[in-house]
Every structure is written in structure tokens, then in C-alpha cells.
């Protein structure tokens, strides 16, 4: 069968049979196709499995290619599986993910320092959901605390090819906003600064 199958059909079959994203080298190894041939076939499949045309879509995530159901059909799939979509993450959880994604691998204490609040509960929730994992230890810190890093499941959930597939931290805050922060700080007297931490507690209480 494989001798007669078209490249797109071969790739389609391999992706269909895999529950995880398949990296290109694995695709080449499984199908025996050349890289150029595979890329052309993947483009062909992307057209066929576009969100506008199909209930199944071809997406790139976590360093590989994956066939997944179209989010437009998610409710029907969830009814079939009799399972609810996981509850959305809290604001604190998003902040912890952002810390680990941009500053990681990093420790719980470092995450808490950046956020200005204890983040253990949020970290625990993310570990349970498989979006964070402990990968190694910080041997230079006292007690060698565990280092947290984002997982492939996180990249898949965020639709990211890899951790570089996010805008850089520096581009997320524009100069106008930074100038406003500096201006507010400069206008505050030292007395007014006393006791203030990295967050604005009054805004959250």
C-alpha cells in the first residue's frame, strides 16, 4: 500500500495515528519521504484540512504536526466524549505561566518574587494540569530547589511551535506605558513609597 500511496496520504495516515504532534524528522523516518516532498504534502494537507473546509485541522504545535478536531466542532466532540472542557486558568495561573515561559526554567521562589505574592497554590494547580513540570534543580541556590519549566502540553494548548513562538517580553509593554509608570514613581514622595511593593495592592483589594 505504502509504495503506491501518495505522499500526502502517507503523512495523513501517520498524523492520524499519532495522539501527539509528530516532528518533521519523525514524519520523514516513518513515511520514507524526502523533506521537500513532505513539506509540499504538508502544504497540500493544510489546504485540505483548513478550519474553513474541514472538521479536522492540521496544526503545528510543540515542534511537530498534529491532526486535531476543528474548535468550531468542539462542543459536539465534548458531548460525544461526555467530558467538559477544563475550567479556564485564573489570572494568577497565567502570570505564573508567563514567568516560567519568559524567565524559566526558574524556581517557585523566583516566580513569587516577580509576582510579589506567594505563588505556590497557582504552581501546584499548573503542575497538576500538566502545563508546568519540574525539570532539574537549581544547584546554586540553598536547598537546590526544583526548577519549573513549561511542558509540551502547554505549547500544544497555546498553539505554539516552541517557546520562541511568543513575542519577546520587551515588546509587550510599550514605551508610553513605561513612561507613565516612571512618571508616577517620580511624582510620589519617599513617604508615599514606604511599604509599597511591586504590585499595587489597593487595586486588587
Amino acid at each position: 500500500m505504502s509504495a503506491a500511496a501518495r505522499p500526502a496520504a502517507l503523512i495523513e495516515a501517520v498524523l492520524f495515528a499519532s495522539p501527539h504532534p509528530v516532528p518533521l524528522p519523525t514524519l520523514l523516518s516513518a513515511t520514507g519521504l524526502a523533506e521537500g516532498e513532505s513539506r509540499r504534502a504538508l502544504e497540500d494537507l493544510k489546504g485540505r484540512y483548513s478550519p474553513e473546509a474541514s472538521g479536522i485541522v492540521l496544526r503545528e504545535a510543540a515542534g511537530g504536526y498534529q491532526l486535531a478536531t476543528n474548535p468550531l466542532c468542539a462542543e459536539a466532540v465534548e458531548r460525544l466524549r461526555e467530558e467538559a472542557r477544563p475550567a479556564p486558568l485564573s489570572g494568577a495561573a497565567h502570570e505564573v505561566l508567563a514567568c516560567v515561559l519568559y524567565l524559566g526554567p526558574t524556581t517557585r521562589a523566583a516566580v513569587s518574587t516577580v509576582r510579589g505574592v506567594n505563588s505556590d497554590a497557582a504552581v501546584r494547580g499548573l503542575l497538576e494540569r500538566g502545563l508546568l513540570a519540574e525539570k532539574g534543580r537549581d544547584l546554586e541556590s540553598p536547598g537546590a530547589p526544583a526548577l519549573l519549566d513549561v511542558t509540551d502540553d502547554f505549547l500544544i494548548a497555546a498553539g505554539a511551535k516552541n517557546r520562541d513562538d511568543f513575542p519577546s517580553l520587551e515588546t509587550l509593554v510599550d514605551e508610553t506605558e513605561l513612561a507613565r509608570v516612571r512618571e508616577r514613581l517620580a511624582s510620589a514622595t519617599p513617604e508615599a513609597n514606604a511599604g509599597v511593593r511591586a504590585n499595587d495592592p489597593g487595586a486588587d483589594l
Partner: protein, 257 residues
């Protein structure tokens, strides 16, 4: 810190003040939690819900909108104010969190350090908003879910090995070789009788096992030891050995009693 937070006194620590049951019927609907208020307090104290995420103002509004019946309003209000004050204190402490424990709480941060922290946090906050959007956009993709079965490995059967294995599995276990053992000329019962008579002759005094088996061959000595164990287990005597590998003494049961 807001007036709300700064108004909390040290006596309001919820860890030292378990909640009364007057608030039993009060339920809350928040983004982070939905259910009995007391459950929310328990989760906060167990660090399973981050106090930082609990909107206290909303909590107070929910309580104000509630109209309980059949409970003492004064007692209920007092309990709520007490617990809400504790939450304010807890939140205030969380916001002044110092994970390294190196900062002097009396010493204000330098403007430069404050700016560094604020800018760093602002970037992370914006990154969190971006992640929120991306995760929302990418929700609802379900993979094909065809989990591959375990690889069976190489399946090559050697007929001779299979036949040998079957022979081993289905044949009777061979009798162990006993020709090297001498004929058994004594029984446990005989030596138990010997021990009993020795104890009677000793007139209630202990008998040394060494004296009992003096002149016996190894087989008889071993059977005598088995007989002594058997008599000890039925309570006819007590075996005593004060130190490892020390002399073994047989005490008649009446003496030990």
C-alpha cells in the same frame, strides 16, 4: 495598601480563629470558587485557593445582597465581619510577601528598585494577558486520540525450547535425592519424652541443653532441639538463652510460673 487592608488587627488571624456555624448557609459565586462561604475559607487556609484571587469587595457585596432567614442577624454579621477582616489581613500579608525573607519591612524600597520591580511585573502581567488570549484561541482542539498499543516485540518461537518448557511445566516435580541421608532412627516424640524425664529427674531445676544432648550424634541433637521447641510451644517448658550463641537452658513450666 488600601484602608480595607490596613484596618485589620493582629487578633483577626483566621488560622487562630475557626469559623462559627452562623455562616453555614451563605454561598458565594466567584470566578475562582462557587459554593459555601465556609468552604472558600477552608480552601484559602489550606492554600488551595490563592487569597490574591479572591475579590474581597465582591465578597462583601454578595453578603450584603444576601437576605438570610431564621438566623440571628447580629451574630451572623459579626461572624462575617470577623472572617472578612481576617481575609483582608491575610491578603495584606500575601501582598507584602517576601519569599527570600531578606527585606526589612520597615525599610521602604529605593525608587530605582521599585521601578525595576514594577516594570518587571508589568511585563509579566502583559505576557499573562497574551497567554490568556492564546490559550483561549487554542482551546477546543482535540487530537485523534489513537493511542498506540505497546509494541509486541519480536515473536520467534523455537520448537525445541517450547517443547522443553512444556515438559518442565507439565511434568511432576522430581523427588529430591535423599540417598546421602542416613536412616532415621529416632523420632521427635521419643526425644520429647527424654526431655520430660530429664526435667523430672532434675527435680524442678533447669536443664542445660548441652548436657541433654551430650553423647548424641548430630541427627539426634537436631531432633532433640526440635522436640524442645515443640515442648516450649505447647507450654511444657521455657527455653532460655541469655546471650546469642550462649548456653541454652530448659526451664520446667512450673518453675517459670
Amino acid at each position: 495598601m488600601s484602608d480595607e487592608a490596613s484596618g485589620a488587627g493582629p487578633q483577626a488571624d483566621p488560622r487562630a480563629n475557626p469559623r462559627a456555624r452562623a455562616l453555614e448557609g451563605f454561598t458565594v459565586e466567584l470566578d475562582v470558587y462557587s459554593g459555601p462561604y465556609e468552604g472558600l475559607l477552608a480552601l484559602i487556609l489550606r492554600d488551595e485557593v490563592e487569597i490574591f484571587e479572591v475579590p474581597l469587595r465582591e465578597l462583601v457585596a454578595l453578603y450584603a445582597d444576601e437576605n438570610p432567614s431564621g438566623t440571628s442577624t447580629l451574630e451572623r454579621d459579626t461572624d462575617f465581619v470577623d472572617s472578612a477582616t481576617s481575609l483582608v489581613l491575610l491578603k495584606g500579608r500575601a501582598l507584602a510577601f517576601d519569599p527570600e525573607g531578606e527585606e526589612d519591612p520597615e525599610e521602604p524600597l529605593s525608587p530605582r528598585e521599585l521601578e525595576r520591580r514594577l516594570v518587571g511585573y508589568l511585563k509579566i502581567k502583559r505576557a499573562a494577558e497574551l497567554l490568556n488570549e492564546r490559550l483561549r484561541e487554542n482551546a477546543g482542539f482535540y487530537p485523534s486520540a489513537h493511542f498506540l498499543p505497546p509494541r509486541p516485540g519480536k515473536l520467534r518461537v523455537d520448537r525445541k525450547k517450547l517443547a522443553a518448557a512444556a515438559k518442565r511445566a507439565f511434568s511432576r516435580t522430581a523427588e529430591p535425592e535423599t540417598r546421602h541421608l542416613g536412616p532415621i532412627t529416632v523420632t521427635v516424640g521419643e526425644l520429647a519424652a527424654l526431655i520430660r524425664s530429664s526435667l523430672v529427674e532434675a527435680n524442678g531445676n533447669p536443664v542445660r541443653f548441652e548436657d541433654l544432648v551430650r553423647g548424641m550424634d548430630r541427627l539426634r541433637a537436631a531432633v532433640a532441639f526440635t522436640a524442645a521447641l515443640s515442648l516450649a510451644s505447647e507450654g511444657s517448658l521455657t527455653l532460655r538463652q541469655t546471650e546469642p550463641f550462649g548456653p541454652l537452658t530448659l526451664d520446667p513450666a512450673a518453675r517459670t510460673k
